[in-house]
């Protein structure tokens, strides 16, 4: 691999992901679930619309997860597959999906950490399957995206003057 890998997902993948997350929110009473890719890009948001800047939130989530990954290695763990940040009213639970994506669950007193963890286990398994199938199907190599903007060189030149 010479450059960074890239990936894409279709509207159909998106619908499947949403359906899994909606089921999870219902079962766990959590407020909202976000999927963030490991490079810090927001993939999906389901549930209550968060009242913070989701783009900034996504980049910080990825940084948080990567920093913890390194901390895990330093203390001799392969990884921390999940993380919990508990606040007085609002809390968040983060879990790894297929080593490429992070599930972030926001919940308040209406839910308990125990229930969120329990229900997350199933949704993580399901999402693992969805993403692995997706990556197998579309690949994640740099070549996969080639052609999306094929013939758009002029348009690119024009955009940047």
């Amino acid at each position: 691999m010479t450059g960074a890998a890239s990936w894409s997902f279709s509207e159909n993948d998106f619908k499947q992901i949403q359906a899994h997350l909606q089921g999870f929110l219902r079962d766990s009473s959590a407020r909202c679930a976000l999927l963030v890719d490991r490079t810090g890009q927001l993939v999906a948001t389901v549930g209550e619309t968060p009242h913070f800047d989701p783009t900034a939130f996504a980049s910080l989530t990825a940084a948080d997860f990567s920093a913890n990954d390194q901390l895990a290695k330093m203390i001799g763990e392969a990884e921390f597959a999940s993380l919990v940040h508990q606040g007085e009213k609002e809390s968040m639970y983060l879990a790894d999906i297929a080593k490429r994506v992070i599930l972030v669950v926001l919940f308040d007193q209406r839910a308990t950490l125990g229930l969120v963890k329990l229900k997350a286990k199933a949704v993580v398994e399901n999402l693992n399957k969805v993403f692995e199938e997706m990556f197998n199907r579309v690949g994640t190599g740099p070549a996969q995206q080639k052609g999306l903007l094929e013939g758009a060189e002029d348009e690119i030149d024009k955009l940047f003057g």
Partner: protein, 224 residues
Amino acid sequence: MSMINYASREINCKLVYYGPGLGGKTTNLEHIYGKVSPNTRGKMISLATETERTLFFDFLPVDLGTIRGFKTRFHLYTVPGQVYYNASRKLILKGVDGIVFVADSQLERMEANVESMQNLYDNMAEYGYDLTKIPFVIQYNKRDLPNAAPIKDLQAAINPGWPIEDATQQKATPDAAHPGESLVERVGGEWIGRAPYHEAVAVRGDGVFDTLKAVSKLVLKTLS
């Protein structure tokens, strides 16, 4: 790692501003933040120490326009320059699509520039990325200072060129931004390539958008 979302019709790309401490990376982002319309950019996040030195990263998302019906969203990151922050620096490079190396033109920062460039190359190699094959632009910043080194000395030290072995890439390519100079040329019997560069005075904003446009264009062209 560019991410294409067909559901929301967005292309998301990650750009990293790299370089020695105090070279002007954060200043580049601050200028962009101040100049682009609030509708096309998000919040700027800075994880900094009390003394305003970048601790983990600065982050700024900007939309640069629409191509083929896809919104092009660029996520700009800076890294902390200090040597001892290498672990954080490496994390930020994960999945990068394009790199801007902000060099400090001051004579006394020459060595720091070279060290940082070597560190960039090494960190990229650890991820299996080849710096010479991904969108990469150098910015010579602080051109306003009286102790700024001549561009040709900076080029010789920081951007001396790498050998091009791939025969399809061995064709003379003039540097459109600098008449008389080349991005790919034959020197002796060998083909060498160099990163395109831009001069800048980031505190005044000079050259900041030229640099951003140059690297963004290279990134989008990898998709075409």
